[in-house]
């Protein structure tokens, strides 16, 4: 329905994204903060993964490094089996626009272009052929078939985010990264957008990585990866909002050995993850956590 040229993932490798020992620090040598500390993971093609963690856990950095918006200090990123490379921003941009789709919290649409123009812009910028009929079909599928020539500022937040979803789909990317895609939406629009993301994965074989701090949003994913202090702090398959919130609440606890989580889900992607067998608290990442997102989490649930 979303017009992938071939069957889901058939022309793509089975592994949509792989991070190998990715490390990223901010700041000068002495007070440098390690935003990502030796993170390795692998996401299968056709998976829907949520990345969660408290503020400052490095989840946004993870997304930015994985998506080529930022450069990792060490380690490497492979998208669809190809190593992300590029000495200049122009090279990185070219790598990105062929393989990666984006959905941002603030939509990031160009106010001077209408819905169709915004959707086809990545193709135009890449100098690719513009299949207008296909773009309009995708817009119809995200529920904007009757808004093709509206400008973004005349539409609601939910509608704008659906333009962003259509724009991410139009290039047929290997991975779609969504950074708090429901952060600016009301509950109802948020649900619509999350279902839409789910559909793109379930029925059309897209691969979605979503950073969020909302356990409800995370529960739409096939699995959740937890981050704390820039390190992977466990995963959960077939998540529910309550289980995710519970896990988040105890992410920094020193004596927290196990959290009930579901492993009965079939066909879930595998993670090259040091905590694969379940969550074990890292002694070094103890109580110094600030759960300033916590109230928001519970309210969302």
């Amino acid at each position: 329905m979303f017009g992938r040229k071939s069957g889901a993932g058939a022309v793509k490798s089975a592994e949509a994204l792989r991070l190998v020992n990715v490390t990223k620090s901010y700041g000068m040598s002495e007070n440098a903060v390690k935003a990502l500390d030796d993170v390795s993971l692998s996401l299968a093609s056709g998976s829907f993964t949520a990345v969660m963690g408290p503020s400052g856990s490095g989840k946004s950095t993870l997304l930015q490094c994985a998506a080529g918006l930022d450069r990792a200090d060490e380690g490497m990123v492979l998208v669809d089996g190809e190593r992300m490379s590029g000495a200049t921003e122009a090279q990185l941009t070219r790598f990105r626009r062929d393989r990666i789709g984006f959905i941002f919290q603030q939509y990031n649409l160009l106010p001077t272009l209408d819905v169709v123009q915004n959707t086809t812009l990545p193709l135009k910028l890449a100098g690719r052929r513009i299949d207008r009929a296909r773009a309009e079909r995708i817009l119809g599928q995200v529920g904007l078939g009757d808004r093709l020539h509206h400008r973004p500022d005349t539409l609601s937040g939910g509608q704008r985010q659906r333009i962003a979803v259509a724009r991410a789909l139009v290039t047929d990317p290997s991975v779609i990264f969504a950074d708090e895609p429901t952060g600016a939406l009301d509950t109802r629009s948020a649900r619509d957008v999350l279902s839409l993301l789910q559909e793109t994965v379930r029925f059309h074989g897209a691969t979605v990585v979503m950073v969020t701090h909302d356990p409800v949003a995370a529960s739409y994913a096939d699995s959740v990866i937890f981050l704390a202090d820039g390190k992977l702090a466990g995963q959960m398959t077939a998540p529910t909002a309550d289980a995710v919130a519970e896990r988040l609440a105890h992410l920094g606890d020193p004596d927290h050995d196990t959290t009930p989580h579901h492993t009965d889900h079939h066909g879930v992607p595998e993670y090259a993850n040091p905590y694969e067998s379940g969550y074990r608290s890292d002694e070094s990442s103890t109580n110094d956590y600030r759960f300033d997102d916590y109230s928001v989490l519970r309210m969302g649930a």
């Binding site: 930022d70 160009l110 001077t112 910028l125």
Partner: protein, 448 residues
């Protein structure tokens, strides 16, 4: 709120640099030329000295002052308009539109007063230099003392204050307008703008007609002609969004064909942002119009003397070059205002550029887009600036030489156009280049 105004200037002085610079230069130029009136008004001054001083003060002072008023106002409008986020924040914290208005206007007044104060000494020195140049070319008697008095101070202060506070008022009114009545207000504002633009064009035409009615030997002949060029420039600038849209309707397709996706973005951008771009077009049209008008009139005046067979004395030649220097000061001021406005307008676009980059534009594509935009802006600005300049030049030439078209070649026009183009491209592309060094993600999330 006034206290907040002082604080915000004190804590973030960098943001006021552009505003301060325009007000400072404007106040300096106005006071420099108006101090000639103060000097002429002294007791015991001989008639010839008095005449040359008050003529220069009157001619350059009049259109110079007018130019300063609009140039400062347009620069400040661009600056205040960029504070939308801050104004929004204040509204969210419970500030009433009246309070915000007081704050922004208070700030503008504060900056204007500081700028005028700072400009007094440089204006005095420049005015003294001007008077001694007049003395050197024997136009003014050696015993005349330079004076800097109430005329210079009052015009300098009032013009700077009026243009700054007026621009702040206009810009803040837009920013704080109640969203529910925006449509009706927009219509009313558009009507006022149309009335203002037509008034400026009518005044320009009137000044051109006045020029025709004045005797060719009248030394102040250049004043109404220059005034005509300034007023017509303002009129065109007011209608520039319409003019820009009309031009884009014709040239939109060729631009897209020639410049590809960058042209496509430019055309769509400029069509929607035509109203904001008027802020940049204003100083550009003013610069081209005033530069062409004053430089050509000076050349016409010199050549008319030559043609009259009058043997020029060394003093005449000195006066000629002095006049060119005076005109040069005005042109340089208009040029700096153009740079200032372009810089302010482009540095504000970080977020827009970031959005384009995240949508897949390479830095180069963004640069090409800005270059195409600069090209369209320069073409529009130079076209209408030239027309405005001609409104001043043609009547002046008719009176001085009895021919319609001036015989001075296109060299000066080419120079002015090249200068406008160079300044526009260097400033826009340089500022864009700096903006592109910030990671795209930061530019989009920072303001969110």
């Amino acid at each position: 709120m006034l206290q907040l105004a002082f604080r915000s200037v004190k804590e973030r002085p960098g943001r006021f640099a552009a505003t301060l610079l325009s007000a400072f230069l404007g106040a300096g130029i106005v006071m420099m030329f108006n101090s000639l009136h103060d000097t002429a008004a002294q007791a015991g001054i001989d008639a010839q000295s008095e005449e040359i001083l008050s003529t220069t003060g009157g001619v350059v002072g009049s259109y110079g002052t007018l130019l300063v008023f609009f140039a400062v106002a347009s620069t400040l409008t661009v600056n205040v308009r960029q504070r939308g986020d801050e104004i929004h924040l204040l509204r969210c914290s419970g500030a009433t539109p009246a309070q915000i208005k007081r704050m922004i206007m208070g700030e503008a007044a504060f900056v204007a007063v500081i700028a005028t104060t700072l400009a007094v000494l440089p204006a005095m020195l420049a005015g003294r230099l001007l008077v001694s140049s007049f003395k050197d070319s024997n136009q003014v008697a050696d015993n005349v003392d330079y004076a800097f008095g109430s005329i210079a101070l009052s015009t300098g202060t009032s013009i700077t204050l009026l243009s700054s506070v007026g621009a702040a008022w206009l810009a803040v009114r837009r920013a704080t307008s109640d969203p529910t009545t925006t449509a009706a207000k927009d219509a009313a504002r558009a009507r006022w703008r149309t009335i203002g633009g037509i008034t400026a064009l009518v005044l320009g035409a009137g000044a051109a007609a006045t020029t025709l009615a004045i005797d060719e030997t009248e030394p102040a002949l250049m004043a109404p002609a220059a005034y005509a060029a300034v007023m017509t420039s303002i009129g065109f600038a007011v209608f520039s969004p319409h003019l820009l849209r009309a031009l884009l309707a014709i040239y939109g397709r060729p631009i897209q064909l020639l410049a590809g996706v960058a042209g496509y973005l430019t055309v769509h951008n400029m069509r929607r942002r035509a109203d904001q771009l008027a802020g940049v077009l204003m100083p550009m049209i003013l610069f081209t119009g005033v530069a062409i008008a004053t430089l050509y009139m000076q050349l016409i005046a010199s050549d008319a003397l030559d043609a009259g067979g009058v043997q020029k004395t060394a003093d005449d030649k000195n006066l000629e070059s002095l006049n060119l220097v005076i005109v040069g000061i005005i042109v340089a001021f208009a040029c700096i205002m153009l740079i200032n406005t372009l810089y302010a307008a482009t540095s504000y676009r970080n977020r827009e550029f970031g959005g384009q980059r995240l949508a897949g534009a390479t830095p180069r594509q963004v640069q090409i887009m800005v270059a195409v935009e600069s090209l369209v802006l320069t073409a529009t600005g130079v076209t209408f600036g030239t027309l405005a300049g001609l409104v001043g030049i043609l009547p002046y030439n008719i009176v001085r030489t009895d021919t319609i078209w001036p015989e001075q070649g296109p060299a000066t026009w080419i120079t002015v156009t090249a200068l406008a183009a160079t300044v526009t491209f260097l400033t826009s592309l340089g500022t864009t280049r700096r903006s592109l060094q910030t990671p795209a993600v930061d530019t989009v999330t920072a303001a969110a």
